[in-house]
Amino acid sequence: MEAYLNKGIKDIIEEFPEVEDVLNDYDIGCGPCNVGICLLKDIVAIHRLPEDREQQLMARIAKAIRPDQDIKIPKIEKKAAAQPREFKYSPPMKKLVDEHVLIKRWIALIPEVIKNLDVESEKGRQLILDGIDMIRSYADKFHHAKEEDILFKYFDENSDILKVMHEDHTHARSLVKEMLDALEKRDPKTIAENLMAYRELLTEHIRKEDEILYPWMDNQLSTHQVGELFSKFDEADQQISVSTDKYENFIDRLEKKFEN
């Protein structure tokens, strides 16, 4: 078992697919992760489950790996004290979580956008372009840039979890590029596929950040660093100068359009 604690989760799930279901039962959604290089021991530690649940989880993973053996479960060193799953963010983290709200409203609309995809009319193409602009300007330039250029610099950027976050951002950018190419070719099928892939990617990415990454980061940051981040985020917002009203209006309009 010790050896598996130091193994990447994707490799473990590939070898023992049942482990993905076990993790899901504990709201640990590693299955859809594109990278999966986080070590099992880090995943267990970072989720800060109550001790009895952690023991239960480890026992079930051990059973999935070696069904015929009684395996001794090594104790995982917690990275922070166990806490209930109610998140109290520091002000800079709260800002990022609040920005997720508009992105989540957009990704909730994607199935309706796909149902009504129209690449032939000017109006239909403009709607797709507006959606892509929302992803590029608000989700990426305004939001992800603050993470990549500021927040992640406070941590080890070679850590597995930050590599996964960078990888998600890069993947999202490549999906947007595919959407634009497909729009040029007036290919609704590829646009729809990439929009759905974006929806799935960002749903999981935001969940990881809101529930795991940001609370973990908050535990690591000193009071001084929280103040610094808060100022740097404000400066970045002023420099990037993206009109959040524009994107809120876009989402409001779409929600009204698809409300029935």
Binding site: Y89, P91, K94, T223, H224, V226, G227, F230, S231, D234
Partner: protein
């Protein structure tokens, strides 16, 4: 410890016996982490050099007596001012001084340390009121200390 009755802020309590059972040894001399003078809220100048861009503690008077490890855990690398929200007069001056910390001294963070007694909440309210009236925004953290020195709550308030 006696039963908690009447105004919790001034109710007499004796927890000597529970402290006598405390087996934790007090080892070594703790060096003061105070790096400025004055510290009383009426006496401080909010734009003094040691407040510029600083992480500031606004501490209720009683906190440093209740919290055994105050210097090491909270005062290190911070600037400070102390006040009593129950007994101090002229708290409108405090309000202006806190605003001045935020807008003129451009402090980095404000941490408000209060006791668990209800009247102490007034100090946090004062800080939040000043922050609302300030032009800049800063993260405000609050720490609630129990009368026997335990940390009951430590959280960031909405900026």
């Amino acid at each position: 410890m006696e039963k908690f009755e009447g105004c919790p802020g001034s109710r007499m309590m004796n927890f000597k016996s529970s402290n006598e059972n405390n087996s934790e040894p007090m080892v070594g001399k703790i060096k003061s982490q105070l790096t400025q003078w004055p510290i009383q809220m009426h006496l401080i100048n909010p734009t003094a050099p040691y407040y510029q861009g600083a992480d500031v503690l606004l501490t209720a008077d009683c906190v440093a007596y209740a919290l055994g490890d105050f210097h090491r855990e909270y005062l290190t690398d911070k600037s400070i001012a102390i006040a009593c929200p129950k007994l101090d007069q002229g708290q409108d001056i405090y309000l202006e001084k806190i605003k001045s910390w935020i807008d003129e001294a451009k402090i980095n963070t404000l941490t408000v340390l209060i006791m668990q007694v209800p009247c102490c909440g007034g100090l946090l309210n004062l800080a939040q009121q000043a922050a609302e009236g300030a032009t800049r925004k800063v993260p405000i953290k609050y720490v609630v200390v129990g009368v026997q020195g335990e940390i009951l709550q430590e959280e960031w308030a909405a900026a």
